[in-house]
């Protein structure tokens, strides 16, 4: 019964998305306020409610393990802990798609309620685009992946869940990425709405920015968590494998990072209009493309999803429709959008443009590397593209990007001279050179990690330079966000470089009682014991690791064998110290009473994920800062309207507002650039 209600709610939500699209389209064409136009916002809200109900229905059938529902029978088990029963609801193709449309519908409802800055027509076009995107996903669910499908005869037992996926981190990893993708779909709708009505304004950028920031925060957390998961769960000792699925999450992040910065320029300076629209389309394209690559099974990956060519075709059709449509619209309209304000190359905008180009180039490199096997396979050549391509080729653009990232925030908007910040630039260059020499002298380190360590040191200092000479209590929260995020990049970079430069690895075959050395650690295999869990058995190695004369730490890695479905996993164990992690994995019996033990000492490896979290924290601070600014401006506008006055100009452009304590001498915008007369 509940399943049928869920299905009904899903159909109703789909119908409302259709209404939203058609009414929006007609209202935008009519160009005058119509009754139909008034329907759009409520339709978006009710669509969100029905989609939410459908998802609750799915959670319910999973919670009670209703084995007459096919999805429950094939993905759950009555004996699983409740949290994994619930996460099982989205740990499969159908459920994850339902989660996706639910979040998208809720987000659509939210912008329908709160977004009042944009002209009515632009908002209608935006919601129509949002409804159009949602319709495709509803069609996908209802026509080819119905999550509420019943079995003719209820199953007796559920088929369980992939044991690798019975992990609390993983239960919440995919939804995090979905929230990111959905946020980008909102940015996409805003971009299409702005393009349709030719309203590419700073207000559009401000309306879009919180969604891009939110999406970006979720993607950052998702990628960071996914990387840590792969690190400890796969037991391979690596933290990034350039696997297609990882790339599928990295590409939208790169595009969102570029979009975020270009939207900031548009919001603050009314420049980069066309570029921002393009990135809005590209960012969502990358999330759709990622979904397509992962779900169609067109590329081989360590992550085996429910792979199905029919679904692949469906997603490809959606991709063609949305992205092809948006790019066509872009091609037709973009040249009619007037150029924004001008700026000099030596300016904040100039630096942001350079960084945007670098980010786009990195995105292109990752995209090419990910799609390359697909291209060559068309000529019957099977290749696999890995770190030997991605690392050096990516570095060509990452290194200059990091250099610009250090200097850019020091420049003024509009026009500046490098001579003005020469002292800071010299100091940063000195740090870079000293770090390079120090590392090169102290240790034999390969080129890329060496550059990474030096750049990390420089960037860590550079990220705080924008705060110099300012009263810290007066620094806007959003600026703190930038500082923290940039510092986070430096921290993560340090972790990555340190891990690849200084990791020590040891594969030893030990008898119980035997000891081996890795880094400064002495690791002893005390015993081998069999252990059993609810649905697995394991060989457990009881290790004690000792650093110098310190007290030994117990480590108990396992080699687990699950029986439903049969699968073997390595349960690695980590001992975390402030300066790194000791990583232990249990291998197989060597045959003569000895056991293989694989050990790594990874100095400062944890900084990779701390850095990722700092970046996300920076994003959160930026959202808070922007939302507070927006609310204040909104209140002032309202008060002005009540008094019958025009809103003060500073409420229209919060970024350009003269700070209450005045601009510090060196941070006021440079002189305006005269518009060039057309030749």
């Amino acid at each position: 019964m509940i399943a049928e209600l869920g299905l009904a709610a899903l159909w109703l939500a789909a119908a409302l998305a259709g209404l939203q699209t058609i009414a929006g389209f007609l209202a935008v064409r009519a160009n005058t306020p119509t009754a139909l136009g008034a329907l759009i916002r409520p339709a978006a809200v009710v669509q969100g409610v029905f989609a939410g109900l459908a998802f609750c229905a799915l959670l319910y059938v999973f919670a009670i393990t209703d084995l007459s529902v096919k999805l429950v029978a094939s993905n759950s088990h009555a004996l699983k802990p409740m949290v994994f029963k619930l996460s099982g609801a989205w740990g499969n193709h159908e459920g994850s798609m339902l989660l996706w449309v639910t979040v998208m519908a809720l987000a659509g409802g939210l912008i329908a309620v709160i977004e009042r800055r944009l002209p009515d027509r632009t908002m209608q076009a935006t919601l129509a685009a949002q409804g159009f995107v949602a319709m495709g996903f509803y069609a996908f669910l209802l026509l080819s992946s119905n999550p509420f499908e019943r079995l003719p005869i209820p199953a007796e037992v559920g088929m369980g869940l992939n044991p690798l996926l019975q992990d609390i981190g993983l239960a919440f990893h995919p939804p995090t990425l979905y929230f990111g993708y959905v946020g980008l779909s909102i940015a996409f709708s805003f971009a299409v709405g702005a393009l349709l009505t030719r309203q590419v304004t700073p207000d559009f950028a401000r309306a879009m920015r919180p969604w891009v920031l939110g999406a970006w925060v979720f993607l950052t957390v998702g990628i960071t968590a996914g990387s840590y998961w792969a690190y400890y769960e796969l037991g391979w000792g690596g933290w990034w494998f350039w696997d297609p699925v990882e790339n599928a999450s990295l590409m939208p992040w790169l595009a969102a990072t570029a979009l975020l910065h270009s939207a900031s320029v548009l919001a603050a300076r009314d420049a980069l209009r066309v570029w921002t629209i393009m990135l809005g389309v590209v960012a969502f394209s990358m999330s759709m493309l990622g979904t397509f690559l992962v779900r169609s099974g067109i590329l081989t990956s360590v992550h085996s999803f429910a792979v199905d060519p029919e679904r692949g075709t469906f997603i490809l059709l959606l991709l063609a429709l949305y992205i092809g449509g948006a790019l066509l619209l872009f091609a037709l309209r973009a040249s009619t959008i007037s150029e924004g304000k001008r700026f000099a190359i030596a300016s904040r905008e100039g630096a942001l443009v350079v960084n945007n180009v670098m980010l786009s180039a990195i995105l292109a490199i990752v995209l090419l590397g990910t799609l390359y096997p697909l291209l060559t396979e068309a000529f019957d050549v099977r290749v696999s593209v890995g770190p030997p391509y991605f690392n050096p080729v990516g570095a060509i653009f990452v290194v200059p990007m990091l250099l610009v990232m250090a200097v850019g925030p020091l420049l003024r908007w509009r026009q500046d001279r490098f001579a003005r910040i020469s002292r800071e630039m010299m100091a940063l260059a000195a740090i870079l050179v000293v770090a390079l020499i120090l590392v090169a002298v102290l240790g034999a380190v390969a080129l890329l990690p060496l550059l990474g360590l030096a750049l990390a040191a420089m960037l860590a200092v550079a990220s705080f330079l924008p705060l110099r000479g300012r009263k810290l209590t007066r620094v806007p929260i959003a600026t703190w966000g930038m500082v923290v995020a940039h510092f986070g990049i430096a921290v993560a970079l340090f972790g990555m470089a340190s891990e690849s430069a200084f990791t020590e690895e040891r594969l030893a075959a030990l008898e119980p009682g035997g000891t081996t050395q890795v880094g400064d650690w002495a690791v002893t295999l005390d015993a081998i014991v069999p252990v059993a869990g609810p649905n697995w058995t394991a060989i457990e190695g009881q290790l004690s690791a000792r650093l110098g004369d310190g007290a030994p730490i117990e480590m108990r890695p396992q080699s687990r064998t699950f029986w439903a479905p049969p699968q073997q996993t390595a349960e690695s164990v980590l001992a975390t110290r402030w300066n790194g992690q000791l990583y232990a994995v249990m291998g197989d019996a060597a045959g003569d009473g000895r056991w293989q033990v694989r050990l790594w000492w990874k100095p400062f490896v944890t900084f990779i994920w701390y850095g990722g979290l700092l970046v996300a924290l920076g994003g959160v601070l930026a959202i808070i800062g922007r939302v507070i600014d927006d609310l204040r401006a909104r209140n002032r506008r309202r008060r002005a309207a009540e008094l019958g006055e025009d809103p003060a100009p500073e409420d229209r452009l919060p970024e350009d507002r003269w700070p209450e304590d005045g601009w510090p001498e060196d941070r006021a915008p440079g002189p305006p650039i005269p518009e060039e007369s057309p030749a």
Binding site: V274, M278, V281, V282, S285, F292, S296, G297, I298, P309, G312, T313, L316, L319, A320, I323, G324, L327, L328, F330, A331, L332, A334, S335, L371, L374, L375, E377, A378, T561, W563, P566, Q568, D588
Partner: protein, 176 residues
Amino acid sequence: MTGWRMWVPLLLFAGFLGVAGYQLSQPKNEFIESRMVGRELPYFDLRAATADRPGIASAQFRDGQPRLLNIWASWCVPCIAEAPYLERLKEQGAPIVGVAIRDRPEDVARFLERHGNPYVAIGADDLSEVQFAIGSSGVPETFVIDGEGRITYQHIGDIRESDVPVLLEQLREAGA
């Protein structure tokens, strides 16, 4: 930016759609071929998986007689499907050695009782070590081993009727 440049993204995207559409329409070869074909069997020595057949060691393959090496398991459904064709291969004189993957003796015995026992020997590979070492990534798979213990042919998936003559031919070639 001039007008024509605005079309570049759409053209690139159309190119991607073409390639992706073409790839999707192609039947995907899911088989992972073993790199061990043409090489000697890796060392192994497996205990018997069931009471009425002996276990198997790699050294036993070097006696001049070519054999089929069948990787299977009692929990594997396609293995039931291929059982009659293994039986037919045995009737036509093919010596078949089994390796039971992650299995329990009582399950093995029950499977053989129900679906027939074409094997001259069955080794128990509890941790898939032998399976991975010879480059098999799934069950069932069948390898042709020549008289010197070299892998000469790999068949991936269950054996169907049409595969029987192919395997017999491969076995004959391995003996020649």
